[in-house]
């Protein structure tokens, strides 16, 4: 950051202590004003975040120790909501589906995204078009993407092209929309379709800051492309990769619309479990809220693991 406080004395060489002191006063006055203004300018944004994120979050944590029925007074029950939640078989399926979905979709997107980023980092004919198409699926609402892919996964109808291809290849011959496991796998594919290109663009940005001469120097030393990838590209793209990875993992961990729509409301994820408790069944409100707190705490745990173990910085 450059010096932003420039008093009228700028440019003149202060010759004595008095001038210096005077300059400092002008400077401090400007800085004080500037500081006050800065606080005024950021206040609305900070208030929004505290009021809509922090206060409800603390309220949710408090509520998770209460037995709550909407529009009625609540009573303190300690950890009972969490105990009930952990014993609920719906919560188990939610946890399993979410874990499987997160691990598979993020790994698939990372590997495929890296391959595409490496390809796009070369200069070739049609590169602009390839890059532009990468953003097309990213802009789709996940709920709409799920509707589209649900049509393509329909069994034995004209629109169900993907189901047809999978069936005729013999990989999976049962109706895909009829099994939870198949649906989670299908959701992984849809998520990969929607997000891999974006992941590739993030990684590509990381690749493009690697100076070319590093590669040239290693080539002179006789390094193969394979060695270059493992010894130069990967270590240097690591910071960009880890930010993208953390972001995607937390995003996948709170998956809601994709599974909810793909499974026609029947497929469970942690967020779907919360939604069902909060909106659909008023009796399970407390369980749903406890699961919401669980999603929050587990997200923090995931972020901490990424930051500590893999050495990335989440913010800034």
């Amino acid at each position: 950051m450059a010096e932003s406080a420039t008093g009228p004395g700028t440019g003149t060489r202060p010759s004595g202590g008095f001038v210096l002191a005077a300059l400092r006063t002008v400077r401090n006055e400007v800085t004080d004003k500037e500081r006050r203004l800065a606080y005024i300018l950021v206040t609305p944004a900070v208030v929004i975040i505290l009021a809509i994120a922090l206060v409800p979050l603390l309220y949710a944590i408090w509520l998770s120790f209460q037995e709550t029925i909407i529009n009625q007074s609540s009573s303190f029950v300690g950890l009972q909501n969490y105990v009930e939640m952990l014993q609920d078989s719906d919560f188990h399926s939610a946890l399993i589906n979410t874990t499987v979905f997160t691990v598979l979709s993020v790994s698939l997107e990372l590997v495929a995204g890296m391959a595409i980023a490496l390809a796009l980092s070369r200069a070739f004919k049609g590169r602009g078009i390839a890059r532009a198409t990468a953003l097309a699926p990213w802009a789709l609402p996940p709920a709409i993407a799920a509707v589209m892919w649900r049509l393509m996964f329909q069994d034995e109808v004209g629109g169900g092209i993907v189901a047809y291809l999978i069936k005729s290849s013999g990989i999976y011959t049962h109706p895909i929309l009829g099994s939870d496991t198949a649906l989670v796998m299908a959701a992984v594919l849809v998520d990969a379709w929607k997000t891999t290109p974006f992941m590739a663009l993030l990684l590509l940005a990381g690749l493009q800051v690697i100076p070319q001469d590093v590669y040239e120097a290693s080539k002179v030393d006789g390094a193969t492309s394979w060695q270059q990838f493992w010894r130069i590209t990967l270590p240097l793209v690591r910071p960009a990769m880890l930010v993208a990875l953390l972001f995607r993992t937390l995003d996948a961990w709170r998956v809601y619309d994709l599974l909810w729509v793909m499974g026609n409301r029947q497929l469970n994820s942690l967020s779907v479990y919360v939604y069902n408790g909060v909106k659909i069944s008023q009796l399970d409100f407390s369980l749903g809220n406890a699961a919401a707190v669980f999603v929050f705490l587990s997200s923090i745990a995931i972020a901490v693991v990424f930051i500590k173990v893999l050495g990335t910085r989440a913010v800034d």
Binding site: I49, W138, M148, L151, G288
Partner: protein, 278 residues
Amino acid sequence: MGGEFETRWGKIVFYTLIILFVLMTVSPLLWMAKLALVSQTELDAYPPRILPQSLELTSFETIFGDNRFRSGLINSVIIAGVTTVICLSVGSIAAYALARLKFGLRGPVLSTILAVAFFPAVAIIAPLFLQFSNWGIVNTYQAMIIPDVLFALPLTVYLLVAYFRELPLDIEEAAKVDGAGPMQTFFRVTLPLSIPGVVTTGLLCFIFAATEFLFANTFAFDPSTQPVTVIIPQFATEYRTNYGAQAAASMVVTVPLTILVLAFQRRIVSGLTAGAVK
């Protein structure tokens, strides 16, 4: 890893990969366009045929004849539009302070705002639901705009801070030397110079709010306020076997968003990836 291809095989593998990538990205969209434009007979025929055999607009007539779909589109535009305006107003001044002014809590404030990007939305739907019920604003636009603003704001601030920082400092310094205060400098110099950045940020904000689903599905109960993202998945039940109508509805949302994103793709990519490579 630029440069020439080492072998002919390398080149072949390379182009195959690229073509496969483009095909896989685009073909589901083309297939939806096909489903939206062919006859019901063709939609029912099995096995599916790649090239369309018929061409009609019945599916589009069906969905545009549906009141809920039309009001869903309008609701989406209202919710996303208001969210964008609020985020740009609040976010641009905050971003200016964070990018250009010096104050003690600069770091903590920036971290707090950006941390929300990692915050799971689902964590706060239960308390918001209770609060909105108490206030009697469930099933109103506000119930969706309030949480949408929360999650679009970090994106706005992040993009605008990056953008303001890229502006050459000397123009702003010159304004200051001429006696302009920081606010004048912001409104007369920084903001006009940042129009492209502000437009891109607004567009991304709009896309974010228009694609939001969790809050909309939780806080809106009926078609009077439900955005189109909530309406279309309901069509899977309403128009059970009318696959054409479902595909047409998806296309109506997809095509404008895709065009917007392609038109602004260069700016979007540079904006979104600015922080990843720092």
